[in-house]
Symmetry: C2
Subunit: 214 residues, 2 copies
DNA sequence: CGTGCCGTTGACAGGCGTCAAGTACAGTGG
DNA sequence: CCACTGTACTTGACGCCTGTCAACGGCACG
């Protein structure tokens, strides 16, 4: 199970951010392991911890009352998540594939907050970037931006595997799975990308993909 | 000029956040005044300052190469903005109506960063909230959410004035001005709101508006 | 080989963008 | 005082993009 996920996530372990190692507070904690789809925290639960992805991937999302879901962010190795100001989580975080996560209690060690400012700013920046994508870009443009984002997380590789199913891509980009599929097909037919199986992506024309995101 | 703006923004001066007064660093700075549409900082400029709205309002936006604009956030009295991790601004901030802004240099006083974590978390939270709106809601639902947001900034008043023109609302919600106008008309025809002139909003059925944002 | 999940493709309808015309209003100048 | 002008907003007609519904194909697993 999850063979198609564990291979790329294994490669990603080496990408764990060294600049955050300085925080001995974090390194002293054990890594918790989660299986695919397992909840790391849920909306409504009491907050008070900071989380960092060690390996694998995490989706953070919120669900509207009518069932519509919006994935706010994907997090990969080294990325912090779950940082917020309220007492209770307003979003849910789930593992994508087998995923390792380190937790720090902010109640026991409130001073850790000080070191997390760069991480919060990073999250904030990503959220703003994503606002542009879902606010002002067409379906194909969103897919292009998404593929470039995933490529960047894979070390700007031209060939990589998507960690998540289509429904996650759709809920991240504010689209439906059908539109995601159709947009990928369009990019394929324009010889901008090649598809290798359901999750494999090969970027043939990197520049064309970038031009779509203008 | 701007009479329709200065009245509500004047009321808002009292709403300046007291919990931030502790930072004498901020209070020691003079307030710079900006006229309607004046740039506070621009995309590409060197960053290194934190900004706080004293009175009036501010829009922060980015523009894609093809001219499409996305307003990332509106900021009102007491709100911090311009906080980011890079060396250079990736967005532009402009005054809406006559606006007062206090600046703090983060290069001269880097320790100020520590006190700004709550403000960054607040900005981050707002961005996430907005992701849901523009990612998963219809035009009418976005307008409903927007009106409730503006109402909240006016002390949850049922009657308030919009500070900004339709084009700002549209670029904030990822819509066109025509769709904004039509959606407002729909809400008006359903007797959920009343329109008083171009900018005046009266919420007749608060509950109905909330139900639209589910 | 059947079953179930995931992804793709097609037909169709509806929502929103685009283009265009019309209205309201403030400011200006005669 | 009133016509003129420019800006902001509204309304209408129309077309496209994307959502919806449905059928189909591929692959893993039992």
């Amino acid at each position: 199970m999850h063979t198609s996920m564990s291979a790329p996530s294994g490669a990603r372990i080496n990408a764990i951010p060294l600049q955050l190692r300085e925080q001995g507070e974090v390194e002293s904690r054990p890594t918790s392991s989660f299986v695919d789809g397992q909840s790391i925290y849920s909306s409504g639960e009491r907050a008070g911890q900071a989380y960092r992805v060690e390996f694998g991937a995490v989706r953070v999302y919120r669900v509207l009352a009518n069932g519509r879901r919006q994935i706010l962010a994907f997090h990969f190795g080294g990325s912090w998540f779950g940082l917020q100001n309220g007492d209770h989580h307003r979003s849910t975080a789930e593992a994508i594939g087998v995923t390792g996560v380190k937790c720090v209690s902010l109640r026991e060690s409130p001073h850790v907050w000080n070191g997390l400012l760069p991480a919060v700013l990073e999250n904030f920046s990503s959220a703003q970037e994503h606002q542009l994508v879902i606010g002002r870009q067409s379906a194909v443009e969103r897919i292009a931006a998404f593929l470039l984002e995933m490529s960047a997380h894979a070390g700007h590789s031209r060939r990589f595997e998507l960690f998540m199913p289509r429904v996650d891509v759709a809920d991240y980009l504010g689209l439906t799975i059908e539109t995601v599929s159709r947009s990928l097909t369009k990019l394929k037919n324009k010889d901008i990308i090649k598809l290798h199986g359901a999750r494999g992506i090969e970027i043939v024309d990197y520049r064309a993909l970038q031009n779509l995101c203008l």
